[in-house]
Symmetry: C2
Subunit: 262 residues, 2 copies
Amino acid sequence: MARYDFSGQRLFVDAPLAAGARAELTREQFSYLTTVLRLGEGARLLVFNGRDGEWEARLTLASRKSGGLAVEARTRAQEGGADLHLLFAPLKHARLDYMAQKAVEMGASRLAPVMTRRTQAARVNLERLRANAVEAAEQCGVLTIPEVIADQPLPAALAALAPERLLIFCDEDAEVADPCAALDASGAAGRPLAVLIGPEGGFDPAEREMLIARPNALRLSLGPRILRADTAAVAALALVQARLGDWPRRAGAAQRRGPSEA
Amino acid sequence: MARYDFSGQRLFVDAPLAAGARAELTREQFSYLTTVLRLGEGARLLVFNGRDGEWEARLTLASRKSGGLAVEARTRAQEGGADLHLLFAPLKHARLDYMAQKAVEMGASRLAPVMTRRTQAARVNLERLRANAVEAAEQCGVLTIPEVIADQPLPAALAALAPERLLIFCDEDAEVADPCAALDASGAAGRPLAVLIGPEGGFDPAEREMLIARPNALRLSLGPRILRADTAAVAALALVQARLGDWPRRAGAAQRRGPSEA
């Protein structure tokens, strides 16, 4: 794809992607591309749909108010991401948006808001959370949109976890002071994982007992300072991805981030 | 300190702290405590000054417009923090505030804005950066305020680093794919460290050459997805603190976070 007409845009479309296919744009997407970004006929972008990999596509205008994409060549094959759920006590407004973006950047495959006794926020706006996840996925180069599920109380969320999924939760009083040693000792590299970030006021004693009592749970200590929930999420996910997840690259695996230089 | 009158506030004051001492409040601090928080005579808070540890103090009102603190009992002894500099290409506005907060939560002892060729932001507002560092330090429980230095071009910032300070910078093409292995191999646990977060557009080729050529430098790979600068900062600092810094607790060391229960 010639560099001079690549718009730099990367878009999620809910349509099959193959050479020669046409993909429809939603009204919002069309408006954003043409009115906000002022792209015109022939502008090039990258598209993905969560199942067919990533493709180069060309904007085609049917009229001033509608158009679609002509799908051309595949840039990246679909690959499975990590099986990594992020459970988190919801925050308010902009901080919740931020949490969603960071979770996607850090490779979470599911976002699961969890209501705890000390949670301050009201019920979660799922549409907003999903929209944030889509936008973050478009911008950070992932090939799938994380699943966003409805908020549920902590006990229900725990009961819904598959027993083989390791639950990692942040606990100042974790018995192993070294978080990397704790993760290594889990033996859980490559296995299904869940990271739980509690509310800013912490878990209450009954909740902590419930978490500690769960078989296949790991308590992670995140250092001597107080971390805000969104900081803790990124920090915990960094340690988990680096020790147990998809950060260490396979020898020789190249990472494609943008359009081909052809 | 009786729990019922602890205000939950923690304040940095630039005054000596000792039992029986009086500490002045700035006009802004007094106004915030009395007008915004509506605290009155006798309200209790925690104070620290970066050198004498953390103390319980009681608000005393001289008039409606001024007052001070009666310093009472020490809650925590002063301890040295990690010697960990964060060098970062500045971001704009709220994202810069956010970067400062995260750096403090993650234990940085110096914030050093660095201008690179692809840096988008204008010169840094140092007063704002310092104010953010103070507020973050008050809220996350640290005993010192990180030093905030003036922005400088990348070559000058590198030249100013002491040779024995390990420079850790994030590089998608790091030769060691496993970031934890790379950190372990550095042998730098407990030594002076600097973490460099580049601009969102990355370092240009000449800058990368300069970084790679520096003796005592370590390239860190942060996974296969594109991370925003503030995400990369928290992720890199988490790995560095967990492997080389102050996250693994010494056996038996208790962490004091709030006023004594007495």
